[in-house]
Subunit: 357 residues, 2 copies
Amino acid sequence: MNKVRRVTLHTIAKQVGVSATTISRVLSGQAARYRISKSTEETVLQAAAELGYLPDQLARGLRIKRTHTIGLIIPDISNPFFSTLARNIEIEARKAGYSIILSDIQEETQLEVESTRLLQSRKVEGLIICPAGEQSEHLKAILRIELPMVIVDRHFPELECPYVVSDNYKGSFEAVSYFIENNHRIIAFIQGRLHTSVNNDRVRGYRDALKKHNIPFDEAFIVGDSFGERNGYVGAKMLLNRASRPTAIIAASNLISLGAMRAIYEEGLKIPDEISMISFDDQPYSDYLATPMTTVAQQTTEMGQIAFKLLMSQINLERPRDTEGVVLSTELKIRKSVKKLEPAFMKETKEETFIGA
Amino acid sequence: MNKVRRVTLHTIAKQVGVSATTISRVLSGQAARYRISKSTEETVLQAAAELGYLPDQLARGLRIKRTHTIGLIIPDISNPFFSTLARNIEIEARKAGYSIILSDIQEETQLEVESTRLLQSRKVEGLIICPAGEQSEHLKAILRIELPMVIVDRHFPELECPYVVSDNYKGSFEAVSYFIENNHRIIAFIQGRLHTSVNNDRVRGYRDALKKHNIPFDEAFIVGDSFGERNGYVGAKMLLNRASRPTAIIAASNLISLGAMRAIYEEGLKIPDEISMISFDDQPYSDYLATPMTTVAQQTTEMGQIAFKLLMSQINLERPRDTEGVVLSTELKIRKSVKKLEPAFMKETKEETFIGA
DNA sequence: ACTTTAAGCACAATCGTTTGTGCATATTGT
DNA sequence: ACAATATGCACAAACGATTGTGCTTAAAGT
């Protein structure tokens, strides 16, 4: 315990010989407004500096009903996507004089629910949430008490709340189209957590791209159920051991593609010679992988900045909740992980010989 | 602003028809101790649940002088090393009922100093700090006010404060020795931020490994001054364009090696054929790089857990500050980025021909 | 029947800041 | 010289929870 000698307004007051009120007013720059004399002001400032006074933000927050604190709820801070997001939110927050209480909910909605309550209890002025699951009851509860909130990365149509997401549909559509342009016809999708908007949109983009090019859709080529590495491994393993092996795989996250790569190499396959790949989430290392990975890059920096700004506008302007969301474009970063195949009829014969073997 | 209808102890008190005191005692499980009747207790519990009461942690903290909050100061949360560290600290903290205020100081000591003050102001019960720079005055100030603190990743000998670090000396020594065992003689080191214990220890390990094998030390083969990617790029560029090009490079961080790889590929070189490499900080993707990277792995998970536990022991036991630190062993994860060269005399001739070219 | 003990709860102070108001004293105006 | 205004600051309440103590009524003891 650090009860050495807490310096409060009264400590200074006693030393200077005025009341705590005066100290408070001087330190908050209200000296002039309350006609504190120049000389008193200087003495107070001096004393405060000498004593190393730091205002008690608990007491302050209790009194003025503002904490300059927001809550940040993240499924997994060790995931580079979320950590760069967090970083940019932090930087914006600092500029605005806000602190962040971080809550890593370990991809569990249960912890998410608990966290929202805890953060309310801690009197955050707002919440930035990257929801882990598909539930949104607890989020509705937050809307009800009119606590400012911004949803990031995912989106709930039933929720009247500002959000920032990537254009996952388009990103996915473009990626799959790129496969098709390179004459791929059997394209598998290792998806992430089901029933999330992120996943829905990406799957929809995938299906629509196939449909647009008249490629029959086969449910069997969508596998997986989480954004984690393990799911990528398992999903790829399954796909690679199918009778009709896909020529291309699109992975719904950076972690999934890492797992998929593990499976692919384990099976003795090469990217892109024997299997092509595209991964969501561009990473610094994407360029340096065994095969530089073609990725669907999201604007993580902007996502963080916008999220914070959307939150601030709710907090400051007391503006009626701006229910429309921001959707950020993605960029297909073409590298070397997609092979240009021979036109279709060639593939068919290859396929035949493989099955016949 | 969410002033919908704040539920306080008094709200419940009024509804139930007892005093706020009673509510407080019931909710904190002290009913029996203060002889609150069973029936009152139940009514209170019921009402609290109905109203969705959440205690105001500001008021609570102000009164009881505990916030169940700690401050976490990190140079760059988007760096995977720090983010996995943060994650494990968060998980431990949650178990213990603590929240974390995150402070990303963007590798700037100035922000670190400000953050320590701000966090004090917010009445955190302790601080876990990964210091950005070599200064430690502000940390001494924290020791002086007896605020519990743990230093992670780096270490200041002059600071009587518990710390958790990796055995950077040994990690570096082993890595360089491994180079030497593979007959490398011209080994360069791209170092990180100067005057930090991390860097000092790693450089020392490098020098001692050379010395042990009677390899002359040449100052010119230590380059760099930061743990960032750019420094890795610049450092590698310089090294690769030297008359006597090193056959091996050890990079002091994951970011440095990423930058170095960029430079190496840009120069049209291959790892490990033309240049061998070892990087500090093992990463999930280390296995999947163009050449799987041999790394010096740190025990990040344990580091986080231990850091939090060291902090808790200070907070709870009021134990006299346990000044000794914990040093965690590193592991050399051997992959494919180091080439076994011909014994020394061969290399010399190669070197000659290169220079003569 | 009268004192003693227990049961069941409320009062009021406190944590450190902030803020509306009010009270002296000093200065100015006439 | 006296009223009016300005100057410089202090008082006290409030934010919401906690806690030592004390008060009232009921039960128990003799």
